[in-house]
């Protein structure tokens, strides 16, 4: 974690105070996004992947609150930034594409209006309406939209799911952000379109030289498209490192269990062993390893707060057995 990272998250805690207790959705997350890389963030629903990056953008809604931690981006701590400065940064420097492209596009505005307005929101004065429109056409062509000039006047419901996701990506890219957060860009799409959209994101990353955070619950997708991967479990990063290395030799029991529970095309007869037990309730968690109740290697040493420990070249894992 010594490289000059584009985005460095340190000890981030985002908690939701509810009537039942404090939900520690993000509890001590350390993450780095390096310039130009694609980082995959993998985890189950509720593991804190989305909450982490909503915290980065300052979009956590009450009763959620960033309790502690630093979010260093461009030399500034986003967790301390005034709301107005954070807003100016959103969309211009860091953009996010939402999970469901149908609901994330405004049904009452044409696609062209939505793209043009995003461009104009950050480039006020610099780009006139005509220039912004030309840029929208150019961007739509770049993402592979046929007949971009004509489709600019269409409403979101007139597009197919894959095309809508392309529009979302276009809007996210319209101000050439340094970091694109793609929050499960493919969940609402069928498999062939999934590949097209992921290829598009990969191409855009190379062309624009930006970093991409690919949030997914699909380890296969991440393995194919990401340089590095971070696995999250119950609000914490449990393992991170170069994708290949992590998949070839997982260090954390959760990663190991996850990989064992996936079917392999190369070995279809291999038995699939799901991880026993359930994700813990995030309310009032004890100060011990979160994976302890489900871990096959559970020991007394696990009964205290476990930190992320270096686990080889550029790799980290949150397990006591690493240190041993």
């Amino acid at each position: 974690m010594s490289d000059p990272a584009l985005l460095a998250i340190r000890g981030l805690r985002t908690w939701f105070t509810t009537r039942q207790g404090v939900v520690k959705a993000v509890d001590g997350v350390d993450l780095d996004v390096l310039p130009g890389e694609c980082l995959g963030v993998v985890g189950e629903s509720g593991s804190g992947k989305t909450a982490t990056f909503l915290s980065v953008l300052g979009l956590v809604k009450p009763p959620g609150r960033i309790e502690a931690g630093q979010i260093i981006f461009g030399g500034r701590d986003l967790a301390q930034l005034p709301a107005a400065e954070l807003r100016a940064l959103r969309g211009r420097d860091i953009a996010i594409t939402m999970q469901d492209a149908l609901t994330a596009l405004n049904p009452a505005l044409t696609v062209g209006e939505q793209i043009v307005e995003t461009i104009r929101a950050h480039d006020r004065g610099v780009a006139g309406p005509a220039a912004a429109r030309a840029r929208a056409v150019e961007l739509l062509r770049l993402v592979g939209m046929p007949e971009p000039e004509r489709r600019l006047g269409d409403y979101p419901h007139q597009f197919s799911g894959g095309m809508r996701q392309r529009v979302m990506i276009t809007i996210a890219l319209s101000c050439r952000p340094k970091l694109l957060i793609a929050d499960e860009p493919t969940t609402a799409l069928d498999v062939t379109i999934q590949a097209q959209v992921l290829d598009l994101i990969a191409t855009m990353r190379r062309q624009l030289g930006m970093s991409v955070v690919l949030i997914s619950h699909n380890l296969g997708v991440v393995a194919e498209y990401c340089d590095r991967v971070a696995l999250m479990y119950a609000g914490q990063v449990v393992e991170s490192g170069p994708t290949r290395a992590v998949i070839a030799a997982p260090r954390h029991p959760y990663t190991q269990g996850l990989l064992r529970s996936m079917p392999l095309l190369s070995d279809p007869d291999r038995p699939i062993r799901p991880i026993a037990g359930q994700v813990p309730d995030l309310i009032d968690l004890p100060e011990e390893c979160r994976f302890l109740p489900r871990c096959p290697h559970a020991a007394d040493a696990c009964r205290h707060d476990i930190r992320l420990l270096p686990a080889g070249a550029g790799r980290w894992a949150r397990c006591v057995r690493i240190a041993a």
Partner: protein, 308 residues
């Protein structure tokens, strides 16, 4: 019909199903639905006629609405004994032509209906958007004012305000708008509460949109249809309210002709000269009915929740 023609149509239809099916905005589709509703279209035409009548009153009215001729006091309509075709609907207690006055009366009703609705719609929309989107103290403050105003009987509030401010067109608009904005406000607030939780609002925030931008550009277009429907429906009610105020002598002051005051003028002659009150009453009825039917047609076509 020849077989050839059928065959020629089939592939064309398949092609439109595949490609052209979506190329139509929601608005155009709604408009087409609306045009299918004959009664609603007829009602819109009717409202249009009243509007034209108001605009071109000086050219349409056969006589000066203010000119009184005491020899024609309570002259009956043309088809009754003692009537003449120069004064088709007869004359009122001061010998003024009722038809001309009724035509001029459309000006007052239409002006006040439109003006009050514009003021109320704008104020209510802005307040409702602010309350629904900003929540917190803004919402509490606006909602409490709304609750208080809803508690007042409409007419009594208007009477009190008119008595305090004195008569005049501007004061009528103000007196009615002070309560009328509450309804568009409640609709706007409720719709905004639903819209603010939509993912496209979250997406707009994620792209750095300001609160003003989100309210006016992201949410407003999505809540406009129910607002328009509510406002047109309320316009009929406002016209009745203006007539009521004028009937009570608190509206437009004589000699300016207003349907409400014309009905009131004729009241004392109701037994002997029923026609003095009748024509303005029928005018009120027709205009209000036309607006109501038109707005119901609008609601059926434009409010998505009315669809089954």
């Amino acid at each position: 019909m020849s077989v050839q023609a059928v065959e020629a149509r089939a592939p064309a239809k398949a092609a439109t199903d595949a490609v052209a099916q979506p190329v139509e905005s929601i608005f155009i589709a709604n408009l087409r639905d609306f045009r299918r509703n004959r009664l609603a279209v007829a009602s819109v035409a009717m409202v249009g006629l009243f509007a034209l009548m108001a605009i071109f009153a000086p050219y349409l009215a056969p006589h000066d609405p203010y000119a009184s001729d005491l020899f024609r006091r309570l002259q009956p309509p043309a088809w009754l004994d003692g009537g003449e075709w120069a004064y088709p609907m007869g004359c009122d207690g001061l010998g003024r032509d009722i038809l001309s006055r009724a035509i001029y009366g459309a000006r007052v009703s239409m002006t006040i209906g439109v003006a009050v609705m514009m003021v109320a719609a704008m104020a209510g929309m802005i307040a409702g958007l602010a309350a629904g989107y900003l929540r917190g103290w803004t919402d509490i403050a606006i909602s409490r004012v709304v609750d208080v105003l809803l508690g007042f009987p409409y007419l009594i509030l208007a009477i009190g305000l008119m008595a305090a401010m004195g008569p005049g067109l501007g004061n009528i608009v103000l007196a009615l708008a002070i309560k009328e904005w509450v309804l568009p406000c409640r609709v706007a607030r409720a719709e905004t509460l639903a819209a603010r939780e939509m993912e496209y609002v979250e997406a707009a925030r994620a792209l750095g949109a300001s609160r003003l931008h989100i309210m006016l550009r992201e949410i407003l277009p999505n809540i406009l249809s129910p607002l328009i429907v509510v406002c047109t429906m309320r316009m009929a009610w406002i016209i009745i309210m203006e007539a009521s105020l004028s009937f009570l002598g608190l509206g437009v002051q004589p000699p300016v002709p207003s349907w409400g005051s014309m009905v009131a003028d004729g009241r004392q002659f109701l037994i002997g000269a029923w026609w003095v009150s009748t024509l303005p009453g029928v005018m009120i009825l027709l205009l209000v009915l036309a607006i109501n039917l038109a707005s119901q047609g609008l609601r059926d076509a434009f409010d998505p929740r009315m669809r089954t």
